[in-house]
Symmetry: C2
Subunit: 238 residues, 2 copies
């Protein structure tokens, strides 16, 4: 009953914005190929020649940077309609891999630039995508540089809630298909700290955790307060 099945929800969902805007691609489809990825399958690698741009059609990807000594920062989770590979000039700036089963379309960068130079809609679509990704990146910098662990976790949940809401789903029932390690590497924390934050939110009656990957938000307002830096919200909630 409480189980949240992403796939079935996705099936009922209206066409994603990318699909609706396909006319904007200006004939690019002819050069695009589509591929399905299994969870944990690699989509591209940091340092690859950046000759393709990826359009996420379905599922969830994670884009990350890694250091030689094994540290990792997930710079973003990519949902349907998101574009991967915009950051780079000649080399991919990030690796990316599928979190859930995913469908991704690939367009040769050369074609893309060529068409963007002629077709204004595609150009402005790409610019819009780059822009919103930049805005998200700046939010994330604030989170990583200046927020407490609890604020970070609350912010993440709130983002997923908003994303669900904008897709017409219930903003109180969140599926978190990624592991705690992924969350930690996205929020700049350890898995233990992430786990403790979830527990804190649960004990504060702000969320339920029927399973580690399913969150039910019991008090969205309080969650938003916590994400905005009102740590006392915890006390009031308890």
């Amino acid at each position: 009953m409480l189980q949240i099945n992403q796939a079935s929800v996705a099936a009922r969902r209206p066409l994603p914005s990318l699909a609706q805007e396909d006319p904007e691609l200006g004939g690019l489809e002819a050069y695009m190929s589509t591929r399905r990825y299994q969870p944990r399958e690699r989509v591209c690698d940091q340092g690859d020649r950046a000759d393709v741009v990826y359009f996420v059609k379905r599922g969830l990807l994670k884009a990350y940077k890694a250091t030689p000594d094994g540290r990792r920062q997930i710079v973003g989770f990519l949902h349907e309609g998101d574009i991967l590979g915009l950051a780079c000039e000649d080399e991919q700036a990030c690796s990316a891999e599928a979190v859930t089963e995913a469908v991704v379309a690939r367009a040769p960068r050369a074609r893309l630039e060529q068409i963007a130079a002629r077709s204004a809609p595609l150009g402005s679509k790409l610019l819009r995508a780059a822009r919103s990704e930049l805005a998200r990146a700046q939010e994330q910098m604030l989170l990583l540089g200046r927020m407490s662990p609890l604020e970070r976790v609350a912010s993440l949940l709130l983002r997923f809630s908003d994303a669900a809401d904008s897709r017409g789903e219930d903003p109180r029932r969140l599926a978190l298909p990624m592991s705690r390690l992924d969350i930690a590497d996205h929020l700049g924390l350890t898995i233990e700290t992430v786990s403790r934050c979830f527990t804190k939110l649960r004990k504060g009656r702000i969320i339920d955790l029927p399973r580690a990957s399913d969150v039910v938000v019991r008090n969205l307002d309080r969650l938003a307060e916590l994400a905005a830096g009102d740590e006392d919200g915890m006390a009031r909630a308890a």
Copy 2:
């Protein structure tokens, strides 16, 4: 002798890339106005209607996000040729203010989009700018999420060194016109920690600090090692 005067260096410097590429603006100049800002003067505010885009012509700006309770994250320092205001859709995502005296050109966003829709060069110029800013943002996320204070400071110095190098200046003599608080708010640290890192680098003979705002790099290789996560570089340097 050791004093580093940014203004005089700027005067001798060849035209910045922005000026060289002005043909790409596709007639936008007609609608642009230029304004000079004094240090600490505000350029725009988080939440303003985002009806202009700013082109940094000279000097250094900082772009930052602030929380209601006074925390601050500087998402980037903007040098000559950088563009401010790309992240936003309708509201400015960040505030920005001048660090040094600065000259900034402003273009009405409406005109910009209008011309970009016709003139491919402007569109691709904007896309290129957004892209490189996104790449920088992702680097910064890795720094904020996963790097030690010493690595963060070393990375910052290295970036300024690279920037100086690419402008044809001496990559070993760095002017840091911003305050320690600005550096701290960029690196997600406190001023004390930043200061201690500078001291550590000085005692390790990696840099000299003739004045707090002037850095002379004595060992660029070691600095790069530290920035890349080789903390033992400290021991070897001492």
